[in-house]
C-alpha cells in the first residue's frame, strides 16, 4: 500500500508543468473511470432514446413503411382524451405514492435508527422484504387481497362495518388501491437507502446535541433531516421518476381499467405500441413522459448536481 506514487520526483521540468501533467493524468483517470458507465448508458438508453425521438415524428407501424408526419403524433396525443387521462392519472399516482413513500420510509428509518442496533437490524431486514419481491408477484398478492369475496382487505373492512368499498372495480377507488400497493412495495426502497444515509451521519453530532439537551424533535429537524438532504433528493428523483413510469403493478392489477381510471402513460404507450401497432404514437407518448419528467424533476436535478457545499 505504501508504494511510491506516480507523482514522484522522477518527473522532470519546472514545478508548474509537473502540476499540469499531474492534473492531466488525473483528468485522464477520471475519464477512464467514467467511460464504462457512459458506454453502457449510451448503448442501452441514449441511442434508443434518439431512435424513439425520431420515430415519434413518423406514423410508424412495425413492418410497415413509416410516413413522416412531424408533430402529428403529438397533436393527436393532446387531442386524445385517453392519453390526457393517462397523463392525469400518472401525475396523481406519482404525487400520492411519492409523498406517502417518503414520509413513511424516512419516518420508519429514523425510528429504526433510534433502536438498539440488533433490534434495528432485524426489523429493517423484515421491513425490506416487499421491495425484494417482483412486481408480478406483488400484483398477484394484492389482486388476491383485493378480491371482493376471498380478499383480506374486504374481510377486514367488513369487520369494520364498511360494506360498499369499490376496491379495484370502482373508478373512484382503483387508483388509490394501486397507490396503496405501490406504497407497500416501494417504501422499503426508501427505508434501505435512507438508513444507509443515516449511518453515514457522524455519531458525534448526536452526542453533541444530547449534551446540549436537544429533544428528539429538534435532533430530527436540526441534524438528521438536513444531513439526509442529499440522499433524500436522490430518493425523490429516483422514486418519483419510477412512479411516473409505473407499469407492472397496474398491468397486473387492473390493466388500466375500470374506464381508464388507472391507465398510466406507460400502460397507454404499451397498448399503442404492441396491441394497436402504433409505434410512432407510442414513442410520442413516451417522449411526452420524458419531457414531463424533466419539467417536474429538472429543478431538483440541477439542484442536486451542484457540487457539495459542506456543512
Amino acid at each position: 500500500m505504501t508504494r511510491t506514487s506516480d507523482i514522484g520526483p522522477s518527473v522532470a521540468g519546472p514545478i508548474h508543468r509537473r502540476r499540469h501533467s499531474y492534473a492531466q493524468k488525473e483528468q485522464r483517470l477520471a475519464i477512464y473511470l467514467i467511460l464504462p458507465a457512459a458506454v453502457a448508458i449510451t448503448l442501452v438508453m441514449i441511442l434508443p432514446l434518439v431512435f424513439a425521438l425520431v420515430a415519434s415524428f413518423f406514423q410508424y407501424s412495425l413492418g410497415q413503411q413509416p410516413v413522416f408526419i412531424f408533430l402529428g403524433n403529438y397533436i393527436q396525443f393532446f387531442q386524445d382524451s385517453t392519453a390526457l387521462r393517462a397523463l392525469l392519472n400518472t401525475a396523481i399516482f406519482t404525487v400520492l405514492s411519492l409523498s406517502l413513500c417518503i414520509a413513511i420510509g424516512v419516518g420508519i428509518s429514523v425510528l429504526l435508527k433510534s433502536l438498539a442496533p440488533r433490534q434495528g437490524n432485524v426489523l429493517r431486514a423484515i421491513f425490506a422484504m416487499p421491495i425484494l419481491i417482483s412486481p408480478i408477484i406483488a400484483s398477484l398478492i394484492w389482486r388476491y387481497m383485493y378480491d371482493p369475496t376471498y380478499g383480506l382487505v374486504y374481510f377486514v373492512l367488513n369487520g369494520l362495518g364498511i360494506h360498499d368499498f369499490g376496491g379495484l372495480t370502482s373508478s373512484s377507488t382503483a387508483l388509490i388501491c394501486i397507490v396503496i400497493t405501490d406504497v407497500w412495495h416501494a417504501t422499503p426502497f426508501i427505508i434501505l437507502v435512507s438508513s444507509a444515509g443515516l449511518t453515514v451521519i457522524p455519531e458525534e453530532l448526536y452526542e453533541a446535541a444530547r449534551i446540549d439537551g436537544a429533544n428528539a424533535a429538534r435532533t430530527l429537524f436540526n441534524i438528521t433531516l438536513p444531513l439526509l438532504t442529499k440522499v433524500l433528493v436522490i430518493l425523490v428523483l429516483i422514486r418519483g421518476t419510477d412512479a411516473f413510469r409505473v407499469f407492472d403493478l397496474i398491468y397486473g392489477l387492473t390493466g388500466g381499467g375500470p374506464a381508464n381510471s388507472t391507465t398510466s402513460l406507460s400502460i397507454f404507450a404499451y397498448q399503442q405500441a404492441y396491441e394497436n401497432n402504433q409505434m410512432g404514437y407510442a414513442m410520442a407518448a413516451s417522449v411526452v413522459t420524458l419531457i414531463a419528467l424533466i419539467v417536474l424533476f429538472g429543478p431538483l436535478m440541477r439542484n442536486s448536481a451542484r457540487p457539495a457545499n459542506d456543512f
Binding site: 413492418g63 385517453t82 372495480t169 373508478s171 390493466g255 381499467g257 375500470p258 374506464a259 381508464n260 396491441e275
Partner: protein, 428 residues
Amino acid sequence: MRKTRGTVAAGIAAALTLALLAACSSTNTGGATSTTKPQSDFTLTVSRWSGPQADEQQKLLDQYTKETGVKVRMDAIDYASLQPKQTLNMNTKTGQYDLVYMPEAWVGQYVKSNFLVDLSKYVKDESLTGKNWDFADIQKSGIDTYTVNGKLYGLPYFVQMPLLVYNKTQLKKDGFAVPQTWSDILTVAHFYKSQGTGIALPFRQGTAISNVLAVLLAGNGTGFFDESGKLDLTNPSVVQAVQFIQDVSKDGLQGSNGWHWDEVAKALTFGQAPLGITTTGLFSQIENPTQSKVAGQMGYAPIPYNKKAAGLIQSWAWGIPKDSKHAKAAFQLAAWLTSKSAQTAFAKMDPSFVTFRQSVDDDKSLAANAPWLPAIKEALTNGVTLPLQPAASQLLTDLSAGLSGVVTNGDDPKAMLQKVQQADASKF
C-alpha cells in the same frame, strides 16, 4: 479494512468469472428428447402461450418428433407477452420462430406488416400435407377467418367462444328454466343478486367485455358496421345491447367489473356463482372433479339474446413467419398438428379443445366429455367473428374502456357509443 477489500475483490472476481462462463455456455443446452427416428439437423421453434393446453401441446410436439425425427421446441410464454415477442422477432427478422400461434385479431396487422408466409399453395401440395389431410374437412368459417385478400395466412387450430354457464341443480331448485333471452337472464340474475350472489361477468376493462358485446350485437341482429362496411355504433340496436350490458352488470356478482374470463371460471368452479359468462377454453376446469366443487352440475347455453341465439368464434391458428428458415418443414408440422388424428388426440387430453375439423367435432366419443358441444353448435348457427381490419384493435380498445365506464360509472350507453363512433369512424 484491507481484509474487507480483499474479500470483496475476490468475491467480485469469482462471481464475474462464473457469470461470464455461464453466459457463454448456456446458449446451447438443448433439451434431449428420446427418439426412434434419426433426428433432423435443424430444430423448429414454436411460439405459443403458456398455461392451459400448453402441456398437452408439448406432448403432441414430442410425438411429432418421435414420428418424423424433426426436432421441435416449444417456446411457451405468458399470453400478455406473446404478441410483443412475436412482433419484435418478425419485425427484426431474427428467424427465431418457425411457427407462431395467433388469434384472428392479430392477423390483420401481421399481414399488413408483411410478416406471414402465404399458405395458399402449401395447402394444395400433397407432398407437404400428407395424403389423408383432407382440407375440405376444416370448416370454411375457419379458413375464411385467416384469409386476407384471397390468400390464406394461418391454419385454424382451436376455437373457443363465450357461453352462459349455469348450475342446473340450483336453477331447477329455484324454479328457473334455462335462461335464453335478455329478459330471462335479467330475472334470474336479479333473483340471485337479491340472494347475495349474482351472475359472474367478465367485465374488467379488456378484451372480454367487448367480446361479450360482439355476441350481444349478433343476438340483436346487428353488428359493429352497417351494410356498406362503415362503423355504425349509434344504431339503436347497438345502443340497446350496451344498455343490456349495463342492466345485467347491476346484478353482477361483486367483483365482476374487475374480472376476466379466468376469474369468472374460478367463481363458477368454486361454486361461488350460480351462473356466469365465460369462454369454452376454460371449461375443463369447471368439470374437473378433483378441482371443481360443481363438476357434473353445470349446464351450458348460448349467451342470452334478444332476437336469435348467436356465438362469437374466437380462434387460434398456426402461421409461418416470413423470416423462418424452415418454412416448408414448419408447414409440415402445422399440417400434422391440424390433422384429424392429432386434433382428436388433443381433444381427448383436454375436452375444452374444440377444433375447426367437422369430423373431430362430430366424434361421439369426445362429445361425452364435452357437455358444452351442443351449446357451441347452437351458437355457431349464427356465428360471428370480431372485426378483423387492422384498425379493429384500436376500436376494441376504445370500446372496452367505454363499456367499462358504462358498467362501473353508470355512463350513458348512447353517449359512450357516440364518443367511440366519433373517434374511430374515420379509420374504417
